[in-house]
C-alpha cells in the first residue's frame, strides 16, 4: 500500500501525523510526504523544515525496534527534475517531496505518478474546510483523485464510521481502509446501502451489504446494515457526517453515489463533518 500525505506548515497538517503514523504502521505502507510551494528555485525553509519534523514525529510514534521506517540522516534536499526530495528505506520506503505549483493540482499529479492507494490531508474547520485560506483544495482532491482520499478536519475519536455503499465495486484495499479506520477510532461501523426505487440492483446491494456484515461480524467488529432510498441519501449523509466519519464509495462507472453527489454535495459534506471524510475508490 502507498500513502500520499499532503502537508503544509499549518496546525491542521501537524495534527494529523499521529493518525497517519497509525494508518501507515498498520498497513505497512510506503509513505510520501508532499509539500507544495508556489514557486522558487530552492525548497522554502519553513516547508522543508516542517516536512522533516513531521517525518521525525511519525518515526517517533513507533518503538525503537518496530518502526518500518528509517529516519532520514542526510537532510540535504536532492533536486530530482522539478522536485526536491529526500528518502529513507527501512522495511518500507519513506519519501519527502517538495514541488512548486498549486496544491490540488500537484497532489493529484503525484498521486497518479507514485500509484498512491490513499491520499491523506488535513484541513481547518474555518469556513467549513479550508486549506491555507483556500476553500477548494480539499474538495478538488477529494473529487478528482484517482485513489481513495481521507480528509481529516479534526483529530478526535469518532463514535462510528458510516460507510455509504452503492452498486460500485468494493475493492479489498478499500475494505482494508475501512477496517483501519474502525480500529483507529475503536468505532462501530454502519454499512448503509443506497437503493434506487424499483431497481433490480437492490438485490445486488443487499447481497454486498450482507457479505460485509458477515465479514466484520466474524472479525468481532460491531457492524450494522441499513438500507436507505436514493431520494434520502443526501440528507442522511449530511446528518451522519455530524455523528462520525462518513466513508463514501465512489468507485466505478456504475457508482450511484457518484451520480447523486454533485460537487456541491461533497463540498457540503466537507463543511458539515466534524471529524473526517473518506472517499473510497
Amino acid at each position: 500500500m502507498k500513502i500520499l500525505v499532503t502537508l503544509d506548515t499549518k496546525q491542521y497538517s501537524q495534527k494529523i501525523i499521529k493518525d497517519v503514523a497509525r494508518l501507515a504502521g498498520n498497513t505497512l505502507a510506503d509513505v510520501v510526504f508532499l509539500g507544495v510551494q508556489e514557486d522558487g528555485k530552492k525548497p522554502a525553509g519553513t516547508l522543508s523544515a516542517a516536512l522533516l519534523k513531521y517525518h521525525r514525529d511519525l518515526c517517533g510514534y513507533f518503538g525503537a525496534d518496530e518502526s518500518p521506517y528509517l529516519e532520514i540522516e542526510d537532510e540535504n534536499w536532492q533536486k530530482d527534475g522539478a522536485d526536491w526530495s529526500l528518502s529513507s528505506r527501512g522495511l518500507k520506503e519513506f519519501r519527502l517531496l517538495i514541488r512548486t505549483g498549486s496544491v490540488a493540482q500537484q497532489t493529484l499529479a503525484v498521486a497518479g505518478e507514485v500509484g498512491s492507494d490513499l491520499v491523506i490531508l488535513g484541513c481547518s474547520r474555518k469556513f467549513g474546510c479550508e486549506w491555507d485560506g483556500e476553500m477548494n483544495v480539499p474538495l478538488r482532491i477529494a473529487r478528482d483523485a484517482p485513489c481513495s482520499v481521507l480528509v481529516i478536519k479534526e483529530v478526535k475519536k469518532a463514535g462510528q464510521i458510516i460507510s455509504i455503499l452503492d452498486q460500485s465495486k468494493v475493492s479489498q484495499d478499500a475494505l482494508e481502509l475501512v477496517n483501519q479506520l474502525v480500529t483507529l477510532h475503536d468505532a462501530g461501523l454502519k454499512i448503509v446501502g443506497v437503493k434506487e426505487k424499483r431497481s433490480r440492483k437492490a438485490d445486488k446491494i443487499e447481497k454486498k451489504m450482507v457479505e460485509l456484515l458477515k465479514y466484520y461480524n466474524e472479525r468481532e467488529i460491531s457492524a450494522w446494515i441499513k438500507l436507505i432510498n436514493a431520494d434520502d441519501v443526501q440528507d442522511y449523509v449530511t446528518a451522519s457526517s455530524k455523528e462520525g466519519i462518513v466513508a463514501l464509495w465512489m468507485g466505478g462507472k456504475e457508482s450511484l453515489i457518484k451520480k447523486l453527489f454533485s460537487r456541491s454535495m461533497v463540498d457540503r459534506l466537507l463543511e458539515t463533518t466534524r471529524s473526517a471524510l473518506l472517499i473510497l475508490r
Binding site: 462501530g188 454502519k190 437503493k195 443487499e206 447481497k207 450482507v210 456484515l213 458477515k214 461480524n217 468481532e220 467488529i221 460491531s222 457492524a223 450494522w224 446494515i225 441499513k226 438500507l227 436507505i228 432510498n229 434520502d232
Partner: protein, 264 residues
Amino acid sequence: MLKTLLYIEEDLASSIALRFTGYLNKFIPLSLFVIHVEEPDAKDHVGGGLVQKAWEEGVSASGRRAVDRMLRTENIDCPLAGRPKIFVGNRTEEIIYELRSGTYQLHIEGYLDTADPEQFWAMLSSPLYTQAPCPILVVKNLSISKKCALLCADSVDPRKLVEKSMEVLGESTFGFDIVYFKFREQEELQLLDREEGGSNLRDCVALLGEHGKKADNMTVVSGTPEQVGDYLKDYALVASTLPGRKSMRMFTLANSLASVLLVH
C-alpha cells in the same frame, strides 16, 4: 431449552437470521426447529387427488433442497432439534398452525429492509404478528453485544413487557438495560433524568427484580424515532410489546438497527 421455530427462505434476511440464531444460542440454549413454506401461485395448482399430491411433493422437495443449501452455507453453531419442516401453502397460515400445534416459545425470522417504516408496520400488523401464540424475534442485524434492552414508554404496559420478555430471556445470560423512550423533535438525542421515566420505568425495574434480574442501566432517551433507533444499535436485541398502531414507538422499532423481540 427454549423451543424455537426459525423461518427460512433462500435469501439474505434468512442468512442473517440463521447466523443470529446461532449467536443467540450462546446465551439462551435453544431447541431449534426450522420451517419453510413454498407458496405456489394460484395458476401453479394442477388437478386434484394423486396428481395434486405428486405436484405438492415436487414443490416441497424443491423447498427442502433450498433449506438444506442455506443450512449448509451458514453452518451455524446450533444443532437442529428435528428435520426442517417444509410446507406447501399459505405462509402465514402454515407458520401460525405450526407455532400453535408445536407449542413453540419463540418464532424467529429475518428482516432486511430498514428503509421503509410503512413496510415494517405492514409486517407488524399482519396476521402472523398479531395472531402468533408466542413472541417473535425480527432479526435485522448481526451482533457481538451481550446486552438486551427492554423498550419502555408511556404507552407500554410494564407488566406485559417484562413478564412476556422474561419468558424468552429469563434464563439467558444476557445483561439487561431498560430504555425509556420519549418522543421529541430535536437536533440531537438527549439523555434525561431517570425521574422522567415516571412510574412505568420504576415498575419495569421492580418487575425485572421479581424475575431475579437487575437492570444494569436505566436510561430515559428523548429524541426522534430515527435517533433512538440508532441509539439502540449497541444491543443484541430490543424487547418491546407489539405496537398496536403507527405510534412513535413503532417508528422507533422500524428504525432500530438492533433486532427486535416483539411480545404481546
